[in-house]
């Protein structure tokens, strides 16, 4: 069984190497995609020796969104205010993008120092986090199709009305009579629902609504009366954070100097950033975004290659376990396969991403978590495929190799395996194709793959169909290229027939 051990050790080494590559690539991508830093001298009282980390959900222009046209940094009103405050405190600023729903949790686990994300002060949130003074008060508007515009909230009684999940607009629709309320995660999704006639109107705050109707000329907005000023946006901190008073002071400074007003004016009325679409489907709305989306091809491919290789190597090891005569190895491989095939991939992905830092203290980068989850899952399926392929190789091959005195490992690698792979090549290609397409699941943990980029663009220009169709075409082309390469390989392997 020495040979087994050696084989396993080598495979483990290969897997570790792969993971290292994945993590390097992961950090590399993050610095391209998600972080914007302002370089100021670090080391003041507010931030001893390390940068201030800000959490935000970059899908809410003009407050914050990914600048898909220029390099993919996170930009917006909130970002400018945060940069100004950080500069006043003498701190470096680091911005981390994540889902709006994850922001409070990120504060509670101290993954971020503060959150600015167009977040309104509510009694519920106050129980979990501290808030600064409000820095901006927005007004609510009704967004609907132009041909049935609404003047007042009362007119929405009995209608289908959308709001963003977890937003203060939920309170605004609470008093509607007989209305069907639909709560969605993102404003761009609400806009799309109006266009698809699934809801009659959405309650959205003014700055966001203005952008949306510029991009979609078939929509109209009605401003609602201003609410009381306490209900504006504020900066959130972990409970008891020492940063709260310092930030409040800085906000007051910015108010007094007129700096905040200047930032507000810079971002509101900056609608030229959004391109108006002329037709129902108008690919010119993608102008300027294509290179951002295309860079997602690299992420998707890298991810697919890493998880396919990991899946293949680990799957091979598992298949050898299953064919071995050592009972514990057989049991391990069998249980492993049963668990990974028996639970949803999405669940495994989210578990690995969230559980790893909690259990090991290692803050696993999203791309690495994704490669790991998909590789481990794929290995479970592939181990069965490979086992079948090995068993399908004629017994006589093994006996001939043994009779020649060829050691087990050499026999497996040079005699049995090439024949097994040839038999299972179509199944392997299927698995790779599935991986390319399933890779779109990784957007849930914030990896900016193709699909994630499509929704970033949707957030920026309020057009859903065009970016989705565009990435759909890219996926299709990728799969086409892969299958043609596989056909070439198969022809080469079949030359001995």
């Amino acid at each position: 069984m020495n040979l087994y051990k050696k084989l396993c050790a080598r495979s483990m080494l290969a897997v570790l190497l792969l993971l290292a590559v994945a993590s390097l690539a992961g950090t590399g991508l993050q610095s391209i995609g998600l972080q914007a830093g302002t370089a100021t001298a670090a080391g003041s009282d507010a931030c001893p020796g390390k940068p201030l980390v800000m959490g935000t959900s970059p899908d809410y222009p003009p407050y914050e969104n990914t600048d898909a046209k220029n390099g993919g940094d996170i930009v917006g009103l909130d970002i400018d205010i945060a940069k100004s405050i950080a500069a006043k405190l003498g701190c470096k600023l680091e911005i981390t993008g994540m889902d709006f729903n994850g922001l409070i949790a990120a504060l509670q686990t101290n993954r971020v120092d503060f959150v600015m994300s167009g977040m309104s002060v509510t009694d519920e949130r106050k129980q979990s986090v501290d808030f600064s003074d409000t820095y901006y008060a927005a007004r609510n508007t009704i967004v609907s199709k132009k041909k049935n515009a609404y003047e007042t909230l009362e007119q929405l009684d009995g209608k289908r009305v959308g709001v963003q999940l977890g937003s203060t607009q939920e309170n605004a629709v609470a008093g509607l009579k007989d209305a069907t309320i639909k709560k969605l995660n993102r404003i761009p999704d609400l806009i799309q629902e109006i266009k698809s006639n699934r809801i009659d109107a959405a309650i959205v705050e003014d700055a966001v609504a203005l952008d949306a109707i510029v991009a979609n000329p078939d929509l109209a907005i009605t401003m609602l009366p201003a609410e009381n000023a306490q209900e504006g946006y504020a900066i959130a901190f972990p409970k008891g954070s020492a940063l709260t008073p310092a930030f409040n002071e800085a906000l007051q400074d910015m108010d007094a100097s007129g700096e905040k007003q200047a930032i507000v004016e810079k971002w509101f009325g900056k609608h030229e950033a959004v391109t108006a679409g002329k037709h129902t489907i108008d690919f010119s709305t993608l102008n300027g975004y294509t290179s951002y989306i295309l860079r997602g091809v690299f992420v998707t491919l890298l991810f697919t290659i890493v998880s396919a290789l990991l899946g293949f190597i680990w799957g091979t090891v598992l298949s050898l376990f299953k064919l071995s005569t050592v009972k514990p190895l057989v049991w391990f491989a069998t249980v492993y396969t049963s668990v990974f095939r028996g639970t949803p991939l999405l669940l495994q992905l989210v578990l690995i991403y969230y559980a790893t830092p909690q259990l090991t203290g290692y803050d696993i980068p999203p791309l690495m978590a994704a490669g790991l989850a998909f590789g481990l899952n794929s290995a479970a399926y592939l181990s069965e495929t490979i086992r079948g392929g090995i068993m399908a190789v004629d017994r006589g091959q093994r006996e001939a190799a043994m009779a020649l005195g060829i050691p087990y490992r050499t026999m497996m690698i040079s005699i049995i395996f090439p024949q097994a792979v040839k038999n299972i090549l179509p199944a392997l290609v299927n698995e790779c194709v599935a991986l390319i397409k399933e890779s779109s699941l990784v957007s849930v943990i914030g990896v900016t793959d193709l699909l994630r980029r499509a929704s970033v663009v949707q957030a920026a220009n309020y057009r859903a169909l065009e970016p989705l169709l565009f990435v759909g075409a890219i996926y299709y082309v990728l799969v086409l290229i892969l299958t043609s390469l596989a056909r070439l390989l198969e022809r080469r392997l079949r030359r001995s027939d």
Partner: protein, 240 residues
């Protein structure tokens, strides 16, 4: 050279070998014959431990091969084996089939292995097939390549497990020619075969197996002219 002491082999409840004891001398050519299911192939496969004997001892050149401490992989390199169904490696060309084990196991350089393979191909009369794939060869050609592949490891003993049984009749001769040449070169050989004429002409000794026992062991002239046991007599009546 080969010493077999009371070897038995059972598969589950089925007793295939029921205590075989014999000695094969260096350079001896043994033809193993007997009815189907008599244990001929299993006996042969026990000699290089493709089957592990249930009981008994096999000693080759003083090494107890049935001892678990013996490095069986290294030991097998000294015993060549040719199978009924050739078992060539289908994804390698003819010359690669022959060169593989000498390079990977014996550490020969590519040039040495190629020279050796070329000489062996010449010997089995297939020098022009070096770069063909096995799927392009006839059965007789495949079996001659398989013999060349085994010889490339310079074995001291060659085992042949029904080498002509899977061949069309017109190809049997070319393979037997190679076996004859090998026998006259002084190689120690054990051949399981149904070719009685060949056994009679080429072998030094005939082993007659029936129902897992070595019933008779005699020079061909004696065995074919005056078989001692009733079973051997009946068998010869049927096949001759």
């Amino acid at each position: 050279m080969i010493n077999v002491e009371n070897v038995t082999k059972t598969f589950g409840k089925h007793e295939v070998l029921r205590g075989i004891t014999t000695t094969v001398e260096r350079g001896e050519v043994v033809a193993v014959i007997g009815p189907s299911g008599s244990g001929k192939s299993t006996f042969l496969r026990c000699l290089n431990l493709l089957e592990t004997p249930t009981e008994g001892r096999i000693t080759i050149d003083g090494t107890v091969v049935t001892d678990p401490a013996t490095n069986i992989v290294r030991f097998r390199q000294r015993i060549g084996m040719v199978f009924q169904h050739f078992n060539l490696f289908p994804h390698m060309s003819v010359i690669d089939n022959i060169m593989f084990a000498p390079m990977k196991v014996k550490g020969l350089s590519r040039e040495e292995a190629r020279a050796k393979a070329a000489a062996l191909l010449e010997r089995v009369g297939l020098a022009d097939k070096a770069d063909s794939f096995p799927s392009r060869l006839s059965g007789g050609q495949k079996q001659r390549i398989a013999i060349a592949r085994s010889l490339a490891m310079d074995p001291e003993i060659m085992l042949f497990d029904e080498p002509t049984s899977a061949l069309d009749p017109e190809m049997v001769k070319e393979v037997l020619e190679v076996l004859r040449g090998l026998a006259s070169s002084g190689m120690t050989m054990l051949i399981v075969t149904h070719e009685m004429k060949f056994a009679r002409e080429a072998a030094d000794t005939i082993y007659f197996l029936d129902d897992g026992r070595l019933i008779e062991q005699a020079p061909p002239a004696q065995f074919f002219e005056r078989p001692q046991s009733e079973r051997a007599q009946r068998f010869l009546e049927r096949v001759l």
